[in-house]
């Protein structure tokens, strides 16, 4: 009379179900539905969502957009990497490549930017710390998110998708200042 014998009843699918099981299935189902509807709810009322805006691109095309932005808005340099201060509301390009986030961005607090992310070679992971926003960066795809920094300071961009031997040196920076 066990779990590894055929069921006792010929028509086991007609046996009654215990109250504890029925009640638990009911509670669990309600909880599952709540969790499901939280996701569309957050798309409408929440402030942290992915835009679903993405374009196919090529490393060369994306590099050109980055270079154009750097040429226009460069305000300085750190460790050989240009610091760029694009105007609020503009399209901002950030490239991941072996093993660097390029360039360094300087943004204003509470302003919204259209941040474009792409990789010029392998997969990379955009991990903004210590804010803790994590996005996958894939070669051939330009991902756009509207980002509104609401805290000031220097933030690190860790690469959190394994990208070879220099992976741990791939560190970028976003600077956020008061307007």
């Amino acid at each position: 009379m066990t779990s590894f014998q055929p069921p006792a009843e010929i028509n086991w699918w007609k046996s009654p179900i215990g109250k504890d099981e029925i009640l638990w299935i009911g509670i669990a189902l309600v909880w599952c539905l709540i969790m499901f509807f939280m996701m569309p709810y957050w798309h409408v009322y929440g402030k942290q969502n992915l835009s679903n805006e993405a374009y196919q691109t090529t490393p060369a095309k994306f590099q050109a957009s980055v270079d154009e932005m750097v040429a226009k808005y460069k305000v300085g340099e750190e460790a050989g990497i240009p610091i760029v201060k694009p105007p609020a509301g503009s399209d901002v390009y950030l490239a991941g490549r072996l093993w660097q986030w390029y360039p360094i961005l300087e943004l204003e607090k509470d302003q919204t930017y259209r941040l474009h992310l792409s990789s010029l070679d392998w997969n990379h992971g955009f991990s903004l710390q210590p804010v803790n926003i994590n996005l996958q960066v894939i070669p051939g795809y330009d991902m756009v998110i509207s980002l509104t920094p609401d805290t000031t300071g220097d933030f690190g961009i860790v690469c959190n998708e394994y990208c070879g031997i220099g992976h741990h040196t791939m560190l970028g920076k976003i600077i956020v200042r008061e307007k």
Partner: protein, 578 residues
């Protein structure tokens, strides 16, 4: 000369060829676990920042090998043994086409060795996921393909054995629940392996120059239909084993055949949608697709796991109460055989899988919450709760059950065996909890140096993050000790354990020879009869049969709800984006 032997202790019938296949698969599985365990030490001792044992290149090689041997070879070789057990042994039928089963085993072994050679040479350190366009050596992919084809053959041998049992009328009525669960695992496995073929065959051709481009995003979507679904094979397999263990130890039967089978059916229908869990933060895939898939279409597979979460301990509670352990809510649990590693391994696995693995999995699989978790060390923490404490510890518990039954040896060093699930479970739980904490602080997974030595710019994680990684390292070392205890008991039993069958020698234990021919003295076992009917008042009553389990389930639900909303609250504090 017969074809079967009956184990005098357990009453199980073993078909001669199925028995050797089970032994061979289980032995190779344990070898893979040994490799994975040794490499695990390299991983934890490197990520423990003040020890930082390995150089970067060795670390990534070791991490690739650890993942593939632990997650693929140990688990799938063992699952092959489970499939043969759940079909041939439980249904009392000869294994269908044993030669094909051996061919499958040979392919799996060849593939596993080939793939390990590629990894350990240090030239294919691409992680288990091998995301293109990062490229491994061709035999890395070819090894995986051969292994998958072999596993597919094993699944079809299992299905063929079910057909054979039906055809030969070796059992009455419907197949037992445990076999039904194994069938679920096999069906998911076929889907999984097909996805693996679709993605790995072109990738192999790309690695030898016959295909010039593989889309990096497409690769991730299809690879995860293979990578995540294979974890769902494990869930179906270890839940089936939970039912088997409570059946063997307590004579438990499912609270309701209908409910438990329905839950397995939900797995078949919805589990494989979960490949979305890994691509929630990817570009080019719409939120509608992500929400539908990541939630298994409205969390129907989560519902199935929640059902098993009640019915597995609930069935045990009912069996224990029937034996008179009826005092209070928890006498049935207090007086369980905590000193028997088959039980303790199973129960620790059940609790950690449900409370930590299940809850964290659903939380990080929520489309938006994933933004604060994607690719942090929270992710490996989650899957160590599911596949290491969940699946692997369950397999270890089953091994303790099989040593006397299948291998006909007494357990070697039973005291060590008795402590093993506790040491392993405790070590893993420490590792998991502190990696969850470090992941919440943003620490990256698959990362050699959280101090970023040699980077042009600098960033410092919080001091707490370093502390948490250190404690998780201590947990990891403790878990490795627990893993070593398992290996010592399992391998030791096969070599030094007292023989329960005079012919159960060294060669027989390692499947190189069958037991003495006279042991197989049964041509065809008696018909596998239906379970005994319960007295009418019990089978027709629809009252509260397992109040203790219901209370435990409600505690799980409260933890789940609270932790879920804590994470939404955390998400709401990060920079607005849309």
């Amino acid at each position: 000369m017969g074809q079967f032997r009956q184990c005098p202790d357990s009453g199980f019938f073993f078909d001669k060829s199925a028995e050797r296949l089970m032994k061979a698969n289980a032995v190779v599985a344990v070898v893979a676990l040994l490799i994975a365990g040794i490499l695990a030490l390299g991983v934890v001792l490197t990520r423990w920042q003040s020890v930082h044992l390995l150089p970067a290149d060795a670390f990534y090689t070791v991490l690739t090998g650890h993942g593939i041997n632990g997650l693929i070879y140990w688990i799938i070789f063992f699952e092959m043994a489970v499939l043969y057990f759940a079909s041939s042994t439980l249904l009392r039928v000869q294994l269908a086409t044993p030669r094909w089963a051996w061919a499958g085993f040979g392919l799996m072994l060849t593939g596993a060795v080939m793939n390990n050679i590629a990894i350990l040479s240090g030239k294919s350190s691409v992680m288990m996921t091998s995301y293109v366009p990062m490229q491994a050596q061709p035999h890395f992919y070819l090894g995986l393909i051969l292994f998958a084809v072999g596993a597919l053959i094993g699944c079809f041998v299992f299905l063929g054995t079910l057909v054979k049992a039906k055809d030969e009328n070796t059992y009455e009525g419907s197949i037992p629940l445990v076999t039904f669960g194994a069938l679920t695992a096999a069906i998911i496995a076929v889907f999984t392996i097909a996805s693996g073929a679709i993605v790995l065959i072109p990738t192999f051709l790309w690695s030898i120059g016959y295909v010039n481009h593989i889309d990096a995003a497409m690769y991730r979507v299809i690879w995860w239909a293979f990578g995540h679904s294979s974890q769902q094979i494990n869930v179906a397999a270890h839940v089936s084993i939970w039912y088997l263990i409570i059946g063997v130890l307590f004579g438990a039967r499912p609270m309701s055949e209908k409910v438990s089978r329905f839950a397995f059916l939900l797995y078949i229908l919805f589990l494989q949608l979960a490949s979305a869990h890994h691509i929630l933060a990817d570009p080019g895939i719409s939120s509608e697709w992500k929400i539908f898939n990541t939630s298994y279409a409205m969390y129907l597979a989560v519902l199935a796991s929640l059902i098993h979460g009640l019915t597995v301990p609930g069935s045990m509670e009912i069996a224990q109460r029937r034996k008179g352990l009826t005092k209070g809510l928890f006498e049935w649990l207090r007086k369980a055989p905590w000193g028997n590693p088959v039980f303790s391994g199973f129960f620790i696995s059940l609790v950690i899988f449900g409370f930590i693995g299940g809850i964290t999995g659903v939380v990080m699989g929520t489309e938006q919450i994933n933004l604060i978790i994607h690719n942090t060390i929270y992710v490996p923490a989650h899957f160590h709760a599911t596949v290491v404490v969940g699946t692997s510890l369950t397999f270890m518990a089953l091994t303790y059950l099989l040593i006397p039954v299948l291998f006909r040896r007494q357990t070697f060093l039973p005291k060590i065996a008795q402590w093993q699930p506790y040491v392993f479970g405790l070590g893993m739980t420490i590792l998991i909890l502190f990696q969850l904490g470090a992941g919440t602080l943003g620490v990256s997974r698959r990362h050699w140096d959280m101090g970023f030595t040699g980077a042009a710019l600098s960033f410092d994680y919080a001091g707490t993050a370093y502390m948490m990684m250190a404690v998780s390292g201590v947990g990891g070392v403790l878990a490795a000790v627990g893993g070593a205890m398992f290996i010592v008991v399992a391998v030791g039993s096969l070599i030094f354990g007292k023989k329960l069958e005079p012919s159960a020698g060294f060669l027989q234990s390692f499947a190189l020879k069958p037991l003495a021919p006279e042991v197989y003295n049964i041509d065809q076992p008696a018909l596998l009869a239906r379970a005994e009917k319960l007295p009418v008042e019990e089978s027709k009553s629809s009252g509260f049969h397992s109040p203790g389990t219901f209370v435990l389930a409600m505690i799980l639900m409260v933890c789940f709800v609270v932790y879920y909303f804590i994470n939404w609250d955390y998400l709401s504090s990060v920079w607005p984006m849309g």
